[in-house]
């Protein structure tokens, strides 16, 4: 384990009594509690932390916070892995295991670095220009290779087992930024009695004030703020987006600083915060300067150098050259000197120093080169010297650190998310946020307050000066973009990738557009700045997903009997949000053999099926009959109390919307059922017409889908079975004929019993209050009913030619389905007129038929296309398609329903059903869609 040779003092943020062990690329190191990965590596003298995106150049730390473009590492493994973690934002914990990215085979020796030597041949736009042809498809092949060579980090392919959550919050005042300005704003708001939320991305409030030598002032503000109960403090939380309605989106890294995650607590939490007003006090970002090889490890931002020293007690170098165009960097000279470190010189671009700069230079006792520039970093296995130029004279200043300050610019990202153009401040040399929307205000450095004036533009730097470290964009690339006409900042960005990295150009945009301004001769203000978009810093997909993963992605709707189905062999299938048993599979059975057994049990005895998923609607009111008569194509007003009938309804355009049962419980009281799939649509359709079309009608519609569990009891023995449970007199055919509804008590519970049939057998649908549904279901099975699933239900209805979702596909009319008589009542109803459109009465329209295999044995598949030609490769015109198919136990052969042009006029014809996915062609005979019991005798059996 290396000792921390670069730890030269006591930092405010670290605890010297608490060492923390960690590894980087497999090498063990020791840091201190309170360190970031970046400060701990620096304390150990590690300068090389990554390889660049395109040229694979060695890179070290540039910054100290969210802006860091270079020191991106991967932490945690395998599913927990978070690539592109900025080492400056990763808090150190015991056994943290970080690995560098974008290098092979190792960080020190990286094969990709050959790109750096080839740099003159891979300018901006290289890939697009070189890999254009020969066809558009070719790019797809190139892209795969290029993406492997370029790019940053790699996402794990393992599922992430971490827990993520979302939290909504509301406040009178939301403050983004916990620096001095933000703290003051939050204290003001809290003092005024407001509910306040203050957000900061660091582990502690205080902002840049925590990076000073003296932190008492900031700590006093924090203590004052903590005294208010009405203040919520969110640290380790990055506000990454500002949205309409004064809404802030933020991500809290709740556990990323801990060695292991508590399973009950989210690793990260997405905060959606709505404020009555928002204070943006996001501070400012220091900018680099541009000179040849300014991307070498050891070239850092001057403020960051000072921060590492004061906050973590870590020296970024023993002997520094400071390069600046403003006063702020002189504080770095003072702090370095106070720590006993050497400052070779301050190289100031300004011809004349400000008074403040001159005083600080005297206090720090450092040599100043005014009107001077660094022209080159001299790097040989480490930073050796800064080459500087003053008044035409070149000299070399030996150093192991270049601390640069190209001035400060407000961190305006969030302020532009709602639109609005940043405003260039000529005097300060930086962009201010746009004019704030109502409810938003800017405080502190965000508003330009207290920022040192920077002299800009710097003269045009060397071609191989880096503008965007993360995107590997150089001054030469900006010049190329200019030459090729990509002069708008938005074109410059897309052509060169300037500002497109995970750092969103926090340290590069200003320099890039300043250089472009210099090339075009326009002012910086005219040149403008690219649009910043959310997120401010990268956000993990897990945090965005929150709790909406696994079983919580889509809630499951459960019928009252679902537990029973699952415990009794139910092979569950999805049906929207429901889970329904396809069949109850016994030992030795397959789903197919089980469904055939179940269907036979119904035709031969009695079965029961859970149809609780049906939509159920109660319509009440003096106008209910008239209202429903207009909604349904089936006649409603002629329906007597106690009777029920098939209810068909059309859309406004004349196409079938849904079918179900229509039952009259009282003069002003109807009980309606819909299909499972259309339950919500049908209620919305009815509500729309009740509220909009005929608001004068006195009718109330309430969904009772969840109120009643529904069980269809079907088969010739159904009456006998139910009579045993609820008494013979209740089921007397004279008092309870087919197509009736009756309320019958079962064991003290009132059950709505509909005598309707889907299977074609004598059948009863029991609608029982859901709490008692399971109990009734079990009683039916105890009494001898065979439970059957949705597959057997489908077999029974196909045998009867009853239509379901595959036929009610939103394209079929009542006539197509052989139901024309049901939609022909004299009174007006929705869809009536539109049924008569020429396209809907065309004789060639496909209509419902039955199919049987000509050989009596071949399987016909749903979805197969029907033609007159046998050759699947040259089949002739499509005549229709198979909608539903099964093996019919009653007919002892495969059967199918189809929508066929010409319909039953083709009865007896032999056609061919092609299923190209399986390369199958079956010869089929057109028959009536009612395969079984055409006269309907079994309804009364």
């Amino acid at each position: 384990m290396n000792k921390q040779g670069w730890r030269v003092g006591a930092g405010h943020a670290v605890d010297e009594a608490r060492p923390v062990r960690f590894t980087f690329d497999g090498v063990a190191y020791s840091g201190l509690a309170g360190d970031t990965l970046a400060s701990a590596l620096m304390a150990n003298g590690v300068r090389l932390m990554g390889r660049s995106f395109k040229y694979h150049r060695p890179r070290g730390l540039v910054g100290i916070g969210a802006e860091e473009p270079n020191a991106l590492v991967a932490v945690r493994r395998p599913g927990f892995c978070e690539p592109n973690t900025r080492a400056t934002m990763a808090e150190l914990y015991d056994d943290l295991d970080a690995i560098s990215q974008n290098r092979w085979p190792s960080l020190r020796f990286d094969m990709g670095a050959v790109n750096d030597a080839l740099a003159p041949f891979i300018p901006a736009g290289f890939y697009y220009k070189t890999f254009m042809g020969p066809t558009r498809k070719a790019w797809m092949a190139y892209e795969w290779m290029i993406r492997r060579a370029a790019g940053l980090g790699a996402a794990s392919r393992e599922p992430d087992p971490s827990r993520y959550e979302k939290m909504h919050a509301h406040a009178d005042c939301v403050v983004v930024g916990g620096g001095e300005a933000g703290l003051s704003a939050a204290i003001e708001a809290a003092t005024a009695g407001e509910r306040v939320i203050i957000i900061d991305e660091a582990p502690a409030l205080g902002g840049w004030r925590l990076r000073e030598r003296e932190v008492n002032g900031a700590q006093a503000l924090v203590a004052t703020l903590r005294g208010f109960d009405s203040v919520t403090v969110l640290t380790r939380t990055t506000a990454f987006g500002l949205y309409d309605g004064l809404q802030i989106a933020a991500v809290e890294r709740a556990q990323d600083h801990l060695p292991a995650f508590d399973a009950h607590t989210p690793r990260q939490r997405l905060w959606l915060i709505r404020g009555k007003r928002i204070v943006l006090a996001c501070g400012a970002q220091e900018q680099p300067t541009q000179f040849k090889d300014n991307d070498r490890p050891g070239v850092m931002l001057a403020g960051a150098v000072r921060g590492y020293l004061n906050q973590y007690g870590v020296a970024a170098g023993r002997r520094a050259v400071i390069v600046t165009n403003n006063d702020s960097a002189y504080q770095t000279a003072l702090d370095l000197r106070a720590a006993g470190l050497d400052v070779a010189a301050v190289v100031d671009a300004r011809e004349t120093l400000s008074e403040g700069a001159a005083k600080m230079a005297r206090d720090a006792d450092v040599e100043v080169f005014a009107g001077a520039h660094v022209t080159r970093a001299i790097y040989k296995g480490g930073l050796r010297a800064a080459e500087i130029e003053q008044a035409g004279r070149i000299r070399s200043l030996p150093c192991d650190l270049i601390a640069m300050s190209g001035g400060w610019t407000p961190a305006i990202h969030l302020s532009t998310h709602l639109g609005g153009k940043p405003v260039y401040d000529e005097a300060g040399g930086f962009f201010l946020p746009p004019k704030p929307r109502p409810g938003i205000e800017y405080r502190g450095a965000m508003a330009g307050e207290g920022l040192d004036r920077a002299e800009r533009p710097l003269r045009l730097a060397h071609d191989r000066a880096f503008v965007d470290f993360q995107g590997d964009v150089t001054v030469k690339d900006v010049k190329l973009a200019h030459r090729e006409g990509y002069r708008s900042v938005e074109h410059l960005k897309r052509y060169t990738t300037l500002g497109m990295g995970t750092d969103q150009g926090k340290t590069s945009n200003l320099a890039g557009l300043t250089i472009m301004a210099g090339l075009t001769g326009k002012s910086v203000a005219e040149t403008g700045v690219t649009t910043f978009r959310a997120p401010y810093t990268p956000v993990s997909i897990g945090a965005l997903g929150g709790m909406d993963a696994g079983e919580r992605l889509r809630p499951v709707r459960r019928t009252p009997m679902q537990d029973w189905h699952e415990m009794n062999g139910g092979a569950m299938g999805e049906s929207g949000l429901w889970r329904r048993p396809k069949a109850y599979v016994r030992d030795g059975e397959t789903v197919l053999s089980a469904q055939i057994r179940e269907a036979r049990a119904v035709r031969g005895g009695v079965g029961c099926v859970d149809v609780s998923t049906l939509g159920k609607i109660e319509a009440q009111g003096p106008d209910a009959a008239e209202f429903l008569d207009r909604i349904y194509a089936s006649p409603v007003k002629t329906l007597k109390v106690g009777r029920a009938r098939y209810g068909l309804m059309l859309r406004e355009d004349g196409v079938v919307l849904d079918d179900g049962t229509l039952a009259r419980l009282g003069p002003n009281h109807y009980y309606l059922t819909t299909t499972t799939a259309q339950a919500a649509n049908v209620l919305a359709h009815m509500e729309y017409h009740a509220q909009v079309t005929w608001p004068e009608m006195r009718v109330s519609l309430v969904s009772v889908s969840d109120q009643y569990g529904a069980i269809a009891v079907a088969g010739p023995q159904s009456k006998a079975l139910l009579s045993r449970l609820a008494g013979e007199e209740a089921f007397d055919d004279a008092a309870f004929p087919y197509a009736s509804i009756k309320i019958i008590p079962f064991g003290g519970v009132s059950v709505r019993v509909l005598r309707m049939s889907y299977s074609g057998e004598r059948a009863y649908e029991l609608h029982v209050p859901a709490d008692a549904a399971l109990s009734l279901w079990e009683a039916l099975i105890d009494a001898g009913a065979t439970p059957y699933g949705t597959e057997a239900m489908a077999i029974l209805r196909i045998e009867k030619g009853h239509v379901a979702g595959a036929e009610l596909d939103g394209r079929t009319t009542a006539a197509d389905l052989g139901l024309a008589k049901l939609a022909s009542k004299p009174t007006d109803f929705i869809g009536k007129r539109m049924q008569a459109r020429p396209g809907l009465v065309d004789a060639a329209r496909p209509s419902l038929v039955g199919l049987m295999p000509a050989d009596g044995a071949s399987r016909i598949r749903s979805g197969a296309q029907i033609t007159a030609g046998q050759d699947a490769r040259n089949p002739g015109p499509m005549l229709g398609h198979v909608t539903s198919a099964c093996f019919s136990p009653a007919m002892e052969r495969p059967i199918a329903l189809a929508l066929l042009s010409g319909g039953l006029q083709r009865q007896g014809e032999m056609l061919f059903a092609h299923y190209p996915l399986r390369d199958e062609t079956v010869a089929v005979t057109v028959v009536s869609p009612v395969f079984y019991d055409a006269e309907g005798a079994r309804l009364h059996a």
């Binding site: 959550e165 979302k166 939290m167 909504h168 919050a169 509301h170 509910r195 009950h264 607590t265 989210p266 709505r274 709790m547 909406d548 079983e551 919580r552 889509r554 809630p555 499951v556 709707r557 459960r558 019928t559 009252p560 537990d563 429901w578 109660e618 009440q620 009111g621 003096p622 106008d623 509220q691 608001p695 004068e696 009608m697 006195r698 009718v699 109330s700 309430v702 009772v704 889908s705 969840d706 109120q707 009643y708 009579s723 045993r724 449970l725 609820a726 008494g727 079962f746 064991g747 003290g748 519970v749 029982v768 209050p769 859901a770 709490d771 008692a772 399971l774 109990s775 009734l776 009683a779």
Partner: protein
């Protein structure tokens, strides 16, 4: 045949049974299912009906609560759930009759949960964007919102606790969601209660 006796079971099945869950220590969230819980929906036959409030008063013996609020009468919570539309929630049996208003028994269609404890608000805030602070959602206030993907009718009871109605078929999903959201704080499920 005459020995048939049907029993009523909650939508939660076994998952509603009393237990501790989540983080160790003093539970900061308490979940209770009110079961059995009677729920009726009372609605004007025409939502524009200006006489609906009078008809409601005649039926229930109390004036209906204003929009967005609930009231208590005869041990029942009366919730305003829409224009001239109310829900009556009670542990005791309710039998409503009359034809001036549409009366619908939804007792088996709704599950009723009570969420209380020091962290109850935080638990719900993980799923709803409604401001639940007492200054924004005072005692008696009712909102229609969602917990995650599940629609709920949520109101604040007289002891600061949150009460909610959930469609029965979604009850298990909502209950599991509540447990998951409360694990961070440590929680306790208490036995189903009439009140």
């Amino acid at each position: 045949m005459h020995d048939l006796k049907l029993s009523a079971v909650s939508a939660l099945g076994a998952s509603g049974g009393p237990r501790r869950f989540g983080r160790d220590g003093e539970p900061q969230v308490r979940l209770v299912e009110r079961f059995p819980c009677r729920v009726w929906e009372v609605a004007a036959l025409d939502a524009r009906d200006s006489a609906a409030a009078a008809a409601f008063s005649a039926l229930m013996g109390v004036a209906p609560p204003p929009p967005g609020m609930s009231a208590q009468a005869n041990g029942a919570d009366i919730l305003s759930i829409g224009p001239n539309r109310w829900a009556i929630v009670s542990s005791a049996a309710i039998a409503l009759e009359g034809d001036a208003l549409a009366l619908t028994d939804l007792s088996a269609a709704r599950s009723c949960f009570v969420v209380s404890g020091a962290r109850a608000e935080q638990v719900l805030r993980k799923g709803t964007s409604v401001d639940l602070h007492p200054s924004a959602l005072p005692e008696g206030a009712v909102v229609a919102t969602r917990l995650g993907h599940v629609a709920v009718t949520l109101w604040r009871g007289d002891r600061g606790e949150f009460r909610m109605l959930v469609a029965r078929s979604f009850a298990r999903a909502a209950w599991d969601w509540l447990i998951h959201a409360a694990e961070e704080y440590g929680g306790r499920i208490d036995a189903a209660a009439g009140d």
